[in-house]
Symmetry: C2
Subunit: 433 residues, 2 copies
Amino acid sequence: MAMSTDSVPALPDLSHLPHVVIIGGGFGGIAVAKGLAKKDVRVTIVDQHNFHTFSPLLYQVATAQLEPAEVAYPIRTIFGKSMNVNVRHAKVRGVDHARNVIHLENGKEMAYDHLVIATGASASYFGIPGASTYAMPLYSLADARKLRNRLLLALEEADAAAEESPMSLNFVIVGGGPTGVETSGALSELIRTVIRRDGLRIDPSRMRVLLVDMAPRLLTPFPEKASSYALKELEHMGVEIEFGRSVVEVEEHAIRFADGERLQVAAVIWAAGVTAGGSIADSLGGAPGPGGRVRVNTDLRLLESENIWAVGDAAAVPSGEGMFCPQLAPVAMQTGRHCAAQILRVENNEPTKPFTYKNKGIMATIGRHRAVATLPRGPVISGFLGWLAWLGLHLWYLVGFRNRLRVMMNWTWRYFDWPSGPRIIVADAETAD
Amino acid sequence: MAMSTDSVPALPDLSHLPHVVIIGGGFGGIAVAKGLAKKDVRVTIVDQHNFHTFSPLLYQVATAQLEPAEVAYPIRTIFGKSMNVNVRHAKVRGVDHARNVIHLENGKEMAYDHLVIATGASASYFGIPGASTYAMPLYSLADARKLRNRLLLALEEADAAAEESPMSLNFVIVGGGPTGVETSGALSELIRTVIRRDGLRIDPSRMRVLLVDMAPRLLTPFPEKASSYALKELEHMGVEIEFGRSVVEVEEHAIRFADGERLQVAAVIWAAGVTAGGSIADSLGGAPGPGGRVRVNTDLRLLESENIWAVGDAAAVPSGEGMFCPQLAPVAMQTGRHCAAQILRVENNEPTKPFTYKNKGIMATIGRHRAVATLPRGPVISGFLGWLAWLGLHLWYLVGFRNRLRVMMNWTWRYFDWPSGPRIIVADAETAD
């Protein structure tokens, strides 16, 4: 025997229990599994990553304020104490709902009694030429790392060029929602930090951070007051903001606008919107809902299914009067919890209940110590108080005590302006030796 | 103007000062630059990475105990307050010593008054077929991340296979020096951790960690007592150790030994030795020294040069009686400091002084709370006391207060056995979306 077996308990045989397969380990999928942990079902989360990503903080990874591991958490570790929840590290190709199996990319099948579609959403490029190839989205840890490398390498390049002739760099953020606002503010801070801290020979007046949106204001889901606050703060931080501008093409090193302007760019950050759908949704059949989402009944079951459910960004969840719930983390968590409860009700031969979304408000951070938050029918909280609210809420939801503490430490450091940050160019470690 | 220039001081013009170019930002190169910081020279560190790697802890990154960013530190940040030290993020192709320039891979040249070769060493495969392709070294951050992915993915695969038939996994470590001893102990712990914490359905008796060496004992540079202590501890941790075995071939999923045995493997970790050399050393001309190292005089200048120096693992530094200094971090740091002092002496028209190595002892850690350390002509310290000494020394040398604190927190956590670790499979974030 190679290794001692002491203190490794034998795993119980749960094969007699109904099998719930959850595709996706994001906010929605994790919430379903948490609701089913230690219940009389057997759960398998299937994800192409072995970690859960705390996506609201991806922009901080992209701007070198947090490390990838600070916003990622192994899914297995979340459920380490729940013997009935397992994880399969695999990509899903499609669903065969007639036979109640899913197809994995390695050619294997996995049978389910209940299937939960929690596959989330990805960037929507609205068919704009070049956007999917050259613009950089911010919806996965891989996206965030690629963007960080691009930003840091562009600044290194500008430093190296300084010996001959100074270089201008334009960074364009497309989309003035929370992601665009948070990323442009953080990027503006990153540039100032590397110049001041790391002594890069860059002329700040040649660094341009430009946020464009078709809409006439920032943060359209927020009240007007929040929008004007965000605008004022971003402009104070050196971000240029242009409304009513639409993008017609993205090239490798340039962006073209509908008004004919063509701008040389170091990077185009794509925060213009999301779409669900893809091969899994396609294999379910039926016409897709708005934004490629899977249409579900009010109990979160697919329109014509008894045992397939959808939650979070992947689901078109009715919110009454022909409207649908927004694609936000709180909706994913709430639908996940509801879905778990309904699966248990079905297994107990009880009727399912309809889902209702409890709007707890939305918030966005602007730079280091400012944020805007808005409560349903409540006031707009802005400035430092808003930032404290934002910080508390994000820490609260960040999975795992250890990650929470690490991120808090990082934030505390940044607050007191300590002289280091995780500005290592990670691609280096991948490609070179 | 796009961004405010307040609080960004103009950089002074230092172009009249002699230019010292240092190739490599490892222990040796950093020590040279530190010795020249704020002196009357202009320093450029050229490195293909923008970060310094604390290589003694790479095995902990490979075994998912530390994050990459915890052992890497941006070189610019180290010298953020030294206006005369700059960093060029670039690969060097060769040296034209007749014209006093180096060639960068992007086709550009960089002129120097003094050149320091601090390019380190890399794994030596001794011409064993397949070793450079399939065996996994542990000399760079990229190596460590690749190895971690391989290890974690192998364990995921074993878990997935458990539903059909249990799978056996062999991990072979080639080389019983400090790297081999530290890695095999940490790997054995990793396997036990993922089984216990993450609930992987793996039979520990089917997991084999095998350390092989041609020599008759572990840690040959240490006294016999340290070797037998390490052997006993590793065996206690479930590591199998086989002496007098030499490898004749490494295949994609197997290893072949001189005695004819062919073993299926999940990974071969290569810790058998290092070599210097490469295109930069070749372009210097002259016959290479032992292990491909650049031959230098006792003042660390190349045999036939007035202004090219070599330090650390890249240099064959005479230690008297035809012997050379070992390739260890303390030698790199000491030669780096010495080199800086001699460059300043040359610039002041003073004669150079010869380098002498001050042996401060060597140490290796075994598993979580044990280590062996040996002082020159002193006692062997082992066990928990040795581990405390090891921890103190590594924390002391770890660049930057923030990294030091983060690593200390991580170690404290592990010591008290907290339930999380950075076990995210990072390749996921690179390849998939």
